[in-house]
């Protein structure tokens, strides 16, 4: 009997490919709004200068050590404070209201916190520390709460005494390795964020960077970048144990967070007034509502709507670019595709450099070459996140147990790696989607017209009421994205879960490795802090 028509395939991969199609379609829908204007007429002369700068870094920079110290101090102090508060909050994370409050605090980007706090505390050390510590404390609270929840409770039940002693003698030591690893991961994030705070005027490395970038002094830019990447790469030596504690103490002595802060209680009243929408500040009258409407409508149509639209368009296209590039790049570090260790090391080096470059810098270079449009933003976020995704997926691919007679090269890629890693890849991509939308805020500082741009402009014009409303809009956008990504990850995508019931003998035969959708209870593999940590390695 010759089969002339094939029966329809019924695989659990189908919903996953459908999700990929949704991402693709969403990006295609965005394309008509994707404004690309190539404004720069002489990109090549600039490129030449950039390349010349790249080969001859200039390390003699005024105030370099102060800037490095400031960057480190802000990051260390902020993360320590955030971890302490986050730890306390983690224990009451499930109290009514706490979860929601943490979600809101987290949804406002560090740079917006900095702009808000700047109004009260000026360009002080405390501004930087608080701008990072507030959203990070909320993040720590959530992650620490998860870690504590997942800590086995059996040992603690064996300990006589009150809850506190049980906690100190059982739960805490059990959870400690994970807590401290997450702390180190956050410290690296803080280091990047601390650099970025330079772009709003705090004297971190970013401040120097912005200055030299604007002047086109690429030799200094290269030196600063090398220093920053070096700082991140050697983090494993300075960000642990006594060295980290020593650095923290030195930073507290050198730059006490409370120094130079002029407390002006009257300022708060003034600010509260400034934050209130202008028409509501005066006496209430019959046409207040009409005025409010007139205040809101242009804000909505000229800033909020284009800001949200641009943020979404940029995010979606950057996501597509990141995903597509990651699928092309991850074989570089995958033993299945590149058997030679040295070639893989080269691949690793490439990915490390790509993901260590802060997005804001890539965007800055993009702006130089392509002029102000969404394109540099898409490229910056796309490239940066592609490197992170490729690294994450590549690491997982190294942990797969392939058969001894598995195919090699591209056959291995399409028949073994891609189907096994695809669920994980999708999960990572969704997680990066949240991050990408959040990080569009930073691009606003450079003039790319995302919500961040309008927020930055509102602050520059001292229209704080508008700024607050726009920040609220970006917070809502972030929360919606976070919930949506969470829902998509936990959506039942796997047919196997329906069949598992009739199959009691089947499970140990199944491959148990990371990245296998079948082993994850029918939904996409969930992201854990370990995965985030991988991104930083």
């Amino acid at each position: 009997m010759l089969a002339t028509t094939l029966p329809p395939f019924d695989t659990s991969a189908r919903p996953q490919w459908q999700s990929a199609l949704v991402i693709l379609l969403a990006a295609l829908v965005c394309l008509p709004w994707f404004d690309v204007e190539l404004a720069n007429t002489q990109p090549w002369s600039e490129t030449k200068r950039l390349l010349a700068g790249l080969v001859r870094p200039q390390f003699a920079i005024d105030g370099l050590f102060t800037a490095i110290g400031y960057t480190l101090a802000v990051a260390l102090q902020a993360v320590t404070a955030a971890a302490l508060f986050g730890f306390l909050l983690a224990n009451i994370y499930n109290w009514p209201g706490v979860t929601a409050l943490m979600t809101v605090l987290r949804s406002v980007h560090e740079i917006f916190w900095a702009l808000l706090i700047l109004q009260v505390l000026g360009l002080s050390q405390l501004t930087g520390v608080l701008a990072l510590a507030i959203p990070y404390a909320a993040t720590f609270a959530r992650v620490f709460a998860e870690i504590l929840q997942e800590t086995p409770s059996y040992p603690s039940r064996q300990i006589p005494g009150g809850n506190l002693s049980r906690f100190i003698f059982s739960t805490l030591p059990l959870a400690w390795p994970r807590l401290s690893t997450y702390f180190r991961y956050r410290l690296e994030c803080a280091l990047r964020a601390s650099v970025v705070l330079g772009f709003v005027g705090l004297p971190t490395l970013g401040y120097l960077l912005e200055g030299y970038l604007k002047q086109g002094s690429y030799r200094e830019v290269t030196a600063l970048l090398m220093l920053f990447i070096g700082l991140v790469l050697v983090q494993r030596w300075w960000a642990r144990g006594p060295v980290a504690w020593g650095l923290l103490l030195v930073s507290l002595w050198w730059l006490p967070p409370l120094a130079g802060v002029a407390w002006q209680p009257s300022l708060f009243g003034q600010l509260l007034k400034d934050f209130t929408p202008a028409p509501l500040r005066g006496e209430w009258s019959s046409d207040t509502l009409a005025q409010l409407w007139h205040w809101f409508v242009p804000l909505w149509s000229e800033q909020m709507l284009p800001g949200i639209a641009n943020t979404l368009v940029l995010g979606q296209l950057a996501l597509l670019l990141a995903g597509a590039l990651a699928l092309m790049w991850f074989p570089l570090v995958s033993p299945g595709c590149v058997p030679s260790l040295w070639t893989r090391r080269l691949g690793h080096g490439f990915l490390v450099v790509m993901r260590s470059l802060p997005e804001i810098l890539l965007a800055f270079f993009g702006l130089i070459f392509f002029g102000p449009s969404l394109l540099p933003g898409v490229l910056a976020l796309g490239l940066h996140n592609a490197a992170i995704l490729a690294h994450l997926v590549g690491t997982y691919s190294g942990e797969l147990n392939l058969r001894a007679d598995a195919p090699t090269g591209w056959n291995c890629y399409f028949y073994e790696l891609l189907p096994r890693l695809y669920g994980q890849f999708l999960s990572f991509t969704l997680y990066r989607w949240e991050t990408i939308l959040r990080e569009t805020a930073i691009l606003g500082m450079l003039g790319i017209p995302t919500l961040g741009f309008f927020i930055d402009s509102a602050f520059e014009d001292f229209r704080l009421d508008r700024a607050v409303l726009l920040i609220a809009a970006s917070a809502v956008l972030n929360i919606v994205a976070e919930r949506l990504a969470h829902w998509l990850r936990h959506r039942k995508t796997d047919k196997a879960s329906q069949h598992r019931g009739r199959n009691p003998e089947g499970q140990p035969v199944a491959e148990s490795g990371p990245g296998q959708v079948g082993g994850h209870g029918g939904s996409l593999p969930d992201l854990k802090w370990d995965d985030l940590r991988r991104a930083s390695r």
């Binding site: 598995a406 056959n411 399409f414 196997a496 089947g506 199944a510």
Partner: protein, 244 residues
């Protein structure tokens, strides 16, 4: 064993290590074309290590059926079986099979799958199949390569007695030379020509199957002095631990 034919594989005084421990020492072994050999011994005695070592020696000529199938869970049984023949086609052809299988390839896969009783499961993804069904997909993946040598590590452990014997006979029928790790003594004696028994890191039995009885075979292992000293209640040859 004097045999002038060229061997499929040959070992002289070999020692094998696994996870830092020496599991086998002083192994002398010669497999000649046309032989159907069973490797028996208790769980963890080094059968799989020996088989993997032998496979690496003749990789490329042998149809390989490992104990942990290493199949792709989200892909259909068809694609998992077809994957056995990837190196026989161009990349472009293989990619075309991913998008839409050709009827030729479908028929080729069906021809191996049907006798194994999994012809109807080809469009289903592996994570929808039971352990026994996956094991037969694993066998089909090896059989479709149409090689003359078959190396299998517990190829029928997840099948029932009757089905196991039938499938094993089918494998032997389709391959000129077979080397099979088996835990079932009766199956080893009824299907194979030659039985090699391993205990305590050494080959303790190597004889034609017709000269052996299941009871004598079992007693050889169980009466081994060191084994008794270590384990006062020797286990029967049970099902292997599939998760290892």
């Amino acid at each position: 064993m004097a045999d002038n034919r060229s061997a499929v594989c040959e070992l002289h005084n070999l020692s094998l290590r696994h996870g830092g421990n020496t599991v086998l020492s002083g192994v002398n072994l010669r497999i000649t074309p046309g032989e159907v050999v069973a490797l028996v011994g208790e769980s963890g005695c080094g059968k799989s290590t020996l088989l993997s070592h032998l496979r690496a020696l003749v990789a490329g000529q042998v149809a390989w059926c490992p104990q942990l199938p290493g199949l792709v869970p989200v892909r259909s049984a068809f694609h998992n079986i077809y994957a056995g023949t990837l190196d026989q086609h161009s990349l472009l052809y293989n990619l075309r099979q991913l998008v839409r299988p050709s009827t030729t390839e479908w028929q080729r896969v069906l021809d191996v799958a049907e006798p194994l009783g999994i012809g109807g499961l080809l469009p289903k993804s592996l994570d929808q199949l039971s352990g026994g069904e996956r094991q037969r997909v694993n066998i089909a993946r090896a059989c479709i390569q149409k090689r003359s040598i078959f190396f299998g590590d517990e190829p029928v452990s997840a099948l029932d007695e009757f089905q196991g014997e039938r499938v094993l006979k089918m494998i032997i029928e389709r391959h000129h030379t077979c080397l099979l790790v088996l835990h079932d003594m009766d199956l080893a004696l009824s299907c194979c020509d030659r039985v090699i028994g391993i205990a305590n890191g050494k080959i303790v039995v190597d004889s034609p199957a017709k000269e052996l009885k299941a009871a004598t075979l079992a007693s050889i292992f169980h009466n081994h002095p060191v084994e008794v000293a270590q384990d006062p209640q020797p286990r029967r040859f049970g099902r292997p631990d599939l998760s290892c």
